[in-house]
Point group: C2
Chain length 346, copies 2
C-alpha cells in the first residue's frame, strides 16, 4: 500500500523539529504529556510542512485516532444540542475531536453513518436510544468498537447507556395531570417505530391511565414526526374531534410548542380551555407564554457523564456500568385543572 | 503497511458474493449504479462478514471516501441547524455522508477539527464565514481539498462561498428603523473578532447611521457571546444606562429573544417602551410574543445550493463561482415608532 499523493511524513516532521518520531506521535496524540517548548517546536514543524497525521499510520502507532463519532436523530430544534455540547467539551478536555452525524430519525441512514464513522476510524461511538437492528449491533460487536447509548437508560440492553427512564418520568407527569382531574387525554407522540424514547413515553402515559383505573379510551394518540408544524396539525385534529381532550400531552417540547401555537390560532386559551405538556425542557419551554409544563432532562449532566464513560471505554477497552439520571416533572403555566367541560358528555 | 487487526477484505466480500472486487467497490461508492439484485447480494455479504470499507483502500480505489465534513460554530439554538439539514439532504442524494464538528466559535478548535476531518479523509469541507488564519488556509490549499464557505457571501475572498450579504441586509434593517425615527440605537453584537458575520452586521448598522447623518454616539454597542442569557444581560445594561436606546438591534435572534425576555422581567413593553430586532429568522422568532422583527436568512436554500456547489467541486476537482442569496428584512410586532421619550434629552 502506498500513499496516493506525495505528502510530508512523520519522519519529515521529526527531522524538521529535531526530535524522534515517537515524540511527534506523542505531541499529536497526547500533547499534555509533552513539555511546552518541545510541543511548540513540533507543532510549528507540523504546520510549516502541512503534515496531516495519516489515519493508517496513527492507528498503527497508537491504535487510536482521537476521534469520537456521535449519531443523533436530528440537529434541529436543539433537542440534542445542549447535551451534545457538554459531551464535546468533556471529550475535548481529554484530547478527542467529536464528529457528529444526524440520521433524520431513519435507521437506514443511521446504519450508513455508523459504517462511515467506523471506516473513518472513530475510536468510539455515541448513539441515541436502544432501538436498533440486531444486524448493526452484531456489526458493531464484530468491529470491537466501544459504543455508548445516551437519552435512554436501560440496564438490560446490550449496549451500556447513560440516560434516564423515559417511561417512568412521563408516567410521573401523566400521574400529576390525571391527579388534577383530567380524564380525556390527547397524546401527540413521535413515530414510535424505531424510537424507544417515543415508545416508552407513550407507555408511561398508558401506565398512569391504567393505574388510575381509567379505560383505554381515555387516551387518543396521534403519531407524527417531531416538528412545530406537525405538532400544530396534530393538535388541531385532536381539538376538532367530537370529544376534544382537556389535556394534550406531547412527546417533546417541540410538538408542544406547535400545539400552543395552534391553540392561539384557534382562539383557545392555554391552560383555561386546554392544558398542554411537553418533554425535554429545552430553552424554548420557558420562553413561550404560558411557560410549558414539561419533564426536565438533565442534558448537560448527561453529556458530561457520557463523555466520561465513553473515554473510559476507549482508554481501557472495557465496558462500563449503565448510569441512570433523574428526569423530573417541571410544572409551569400551561397546565391547570380541567374546565367546566370535563367528564362524561354527549 | 499492514492492516493492524485481521479483518475481512474487499476480496472476501467479492468471493462471498460471487462478483468482482470492482463491483463491490461500486456497490459501496455508487450503489445507484448497480442493479438491485447484485447490490443486495453484495450488501448481504458485507453485513455477514462485518466488512468495513478501509479508508486507505477506498482512497486508492476511488480516490474518495464519500464523506463531507462541515464545521459550524455551534449546534445550539438551531442557528445553523436548518441550513445544515438541507445541506445534508442534498449531499445524501448524491451518496455522501456528512460529518459535522462544532467549534464553539473558537478558531483554535476549528483548526483542530479541520485537521481531524482532513485526516479522516473528508472529500470536501464546508466552513462558516471567511475570517480565518492564513496558516490554516495555506494548509487547506496544500492539502488540495475542496472547501466551500457558507453564511457569508464574499466574491473577493480566497474560498468560494454560498451566502448572503450580512452587511447590506443588516443595513437595510437599520435604515428602516432609523426611517421610523429611532435616534438612539443600542446594539447587542456577537464577539466580532474572528466572526465576519458579526463584524459585517455591525458595520451595516454603522453604514445606516452614517447615511442618515447621525453622529457616531447614536450607537451604543455591547459585544457578547451568542446566548439567550447573554442577550438578556446586555439588554439590561443598555436599558439601565443614563440614556437608554429606543431600539435594541441584536446580532441574531437568540440574543434578541434574550432581550425580549429581560424586557418582560424589567416591566418594559415591547415595542411601546423599546423596539427589538434580531437576525436569522429562526423558528423562535415567530414564536415569541410579540413576534420578532428580523432579517430572514434563506437557510434551506443556502444549504441546498451549498451541497450542489461542493459536490461539483469534489466531482470535478475545480472551484465554483460564489453565489449570493437574498436575505430580506422581515417586519413583525417587536418594532414600532419611538415613544414620547425620543430625541435630545438631558
Amino acid at each position: 500500500m502506498t500513499i496516493p499523493r506525495s505528502a510530508p511524513t512523520l519522519n519529515d516532521v521529526a527531522q524538521a523539529a529535531g526530535v524522534s518520531t515517537a515524540t511527534v506521535s506523542r505531541c499529536l496524540n497526547t500533547p499534555e504529556r509533552v513539555i511546552d517548548s518541545t510541543r511548540e517546536r513540533v507543532m510549528k514543524a507540523v504546520q510549516e510542512l502541512g503534515y496531516t497525521p495519516n489515519f493508517g499510520a496513527r492507528v498503527m502507532a497508537a491504535r487510536r485516532t482521537n476521534t469520537i463519532g456521535a449519531i443523533i436523530p436530528t440537529m434541529e430544534n436543539a433537542v440534542f444540542a445542549r447535551g451534545l455540547q457538554a459531551f464535546q467539551e468533556g471529550l475535548r478536555e481529554s484530547g478527542f475531536t467529536l464528529l457528529v452525524a444526524s440520521s433524520s430519525y431513519r435507521s437506514d441512514i443511521e446504519e450508513e453513518q455508523i459504517r462511515a464513522l467506523v471506516a473513518r476510524g472513530a475510536d468510539g461511538l455515541l448513539l441515541i436510544g436502544h432501538d436498533r437492528d440486531p444486524a448493526i449491533l452484531a456489526y458493531l460487536q464484530a468491529q470491537n468498537i466501544p459504543v455508548l447509548v445516551a437519552w435512554s437508560f436501560d440496564p438490560g440492553a446490550l449496549l451500556p447507556s447513560v440516560g434516564f427512564d423515559n417511561r417512568r418520568s412521563m408516567q410521573a407527569l401523566a400521574d400529576t395531570v390525571i391527579g388534577m382531574g383530567h380524564r380525556r387525554i390527547g397524546v401527540i407522540s413521535a413515530i414510535t417505530r424505531g424510537n424507544d424514547r417515543a415508545r416508552l413515553r407513550l407507555a408511561g402515559i398508558r401506565d398512569a391511565v391504567a393505574l388510575a383505573g381509567l379505560g383505554e379510551d381515555a387516551v387518543t394518540v396521534i403519531e407524527t414526526t417531531y416538528a412545530i408544524e406537525t405538532g400544530a396539525e396534530a393538535f388541531e385534529a385532536l381539538m376538532t374531534s367530537q370529544q376534544p381532550p382537556t389535556v394534550v400531552m406531547c412527546g417533546n417540547d417541540v410538538l408542544a410548542v406547535g400545539a400552543m401555537k395552534k391553540a392561539r390560532e384557534l382562539g383557545l386559551d392555554v391552560p383555561r380551555d386546554v392544558s398542554i405538556t411537553g418533554f425535554d425542557d429545552i430553552e424554548l419551554a420557558s420562553l413561550v407564554d404560558p411557560a410549558l409544563t414539561t419533564v426536565h432532562v438533565p442534558h448537560r449532566e448527561m453529556g458530561r457523564r457520557a463523555a466520561r464513560a465513553l473515554i473510559e471505554m476507549v482508554d481501557h477497552g472495557r465496558s462500563v456500568p449503565s448510569e441512570e439520571l433523574a428526569a423530573n416533572v417541571c410544572m409551569r403555566g400551561s397546565v391547570a385543572l380541567p374546565g367546566r367541560d370535563t367528564g362524561a358528555t354527549a
